[in-house]
Homo-oligomer: 209 residues x 2
């Protein structure tokens, strides 16, 4: 199937935005890169602002779906959390430019769009919070740490990946996801949680024992 003009514009925009930032790229440049015209652009988008929104929405909607899926497909806090971490981390192979734009340029979203995005972002956060809270209730996760802070720590730790991850780097995104699982589980889990379920399957094997 041939790419529509709209898709071509979005693709050009994402790549240019990732490199030079939203304000570092003019509509004229996007139009050149996607081989169209001002007319073609404004036929498909109400404004440059709306284009920025599209890019945001593309990513956050995808990642939110994945999180819901992960939640539904598993039934313990540990397995759910790990599934979410895995899916979240793996998104970087596919959506790194989107993510970069998402976190660098979201301040420039028009108010109306910002709200729509924030709702989805909050819902995403709530899913993680929910999983951690459930884990604290059933004793799998330590209760000394406020679930809100754990949630933000996890999100921060994974999101930050966009600052350093290279697709052709030494570590694949899958191994990075495993490491994140290991780090996060170690920081949250109780002794009970460790025995309770097959948590070891989510941990890296030690070379030392």
């Amino acid at each position: 199937m041939k790419k529509t003009l709209k898709e071509r514009i979005i693709e050009s925009a994402i790549n240019l935005f990732e490199k030079h930032g939203y304000h570092g790229v003019s509509v004229g440049q996007i139009v050149d890169d996607s081989q169209t015209s001002k007319g073609g652009f404004y036929h498909n988008f109400k404004s440059k602002d709306e284009l920025l929104f599209y890019i945001h929405d593309l990513f956050i909607s995808y990642v939110l779906d994945k999180a819901r899926e992960a939640y539904d497909n598993f039934d313990t806090p540990v397995s759910r959390l790990c599934a979410i971490i895995q899916s979240f981390t793996k998104v970087f192979d596919l959506y790194k430019p989107h993510i970069t734009v998402f976190y660098q340029e979201s301040a420039y979203l028009a108010r109306e769009y910002q709200q729509l995005i924030n709702e989805k972002r909050d819902e995403y956060r709530k899913i993680i919070l929910q999983v951690i809270s459930e884990g604290q209730s059933n004793g799998d996760f330590r209760s000394e740490v406020p679930a809100e802070i754990s949630t933000m720590s996890i999100i921060g730790m994974i999101n930050w990946t966009y600052k350093w991850y290279k697709k052709d780097g030494a570590l694949s995104i899958d191994s990075i996801a495993l490491i994140f699982n290991d780090l996060i589980l170690h920081s949250l889990i109780t002794e009970k949680g460790m025995k309770d379920i097959a948590a070891e399957t989510y941990l890296l094997k030690s070379q030392r024992q």
Copy 2:
């Protein structure tokens, strides 16, 4: 001591940039807010770019100093790491607007300035990497996890604070710093490390045992 015009300009700029982003604020607005003129501005700064650099440098230099200090004042991996985490986290009370600008707008730094900033940022990262590596060598930290990833995870987790931390929120920055210590230590430390030193002093007390 009276504030110099340069200081006033920087202060205005930081606050405006935090709210509206670098590109959302014109030199004219900065000039109005700091009660000066275009002339006054360009007498103190070569360009708007240079002003952005100043703000970046202010923050990264401070935080780098603090990390060196933390390293020098302690002599075990665990205590050093915790001191760095503490000092890093506490910076948010003082420099949150700087940090916001630092991470949202660094893409727009001119190449020449970007390099200067990157050098300091890399040095900072190296200090943390060094501490973790030393801990892995002496057996305090687990060796299953690559030190590079642990480093980036820590940095990401703490940096992300700028997205959600509110000065008048439920948790003080000091308690947040303690929680970070707890989470990070749990994720890195070995059983030996736990016994070896008084690592408990850095962990939150459980309510359950």
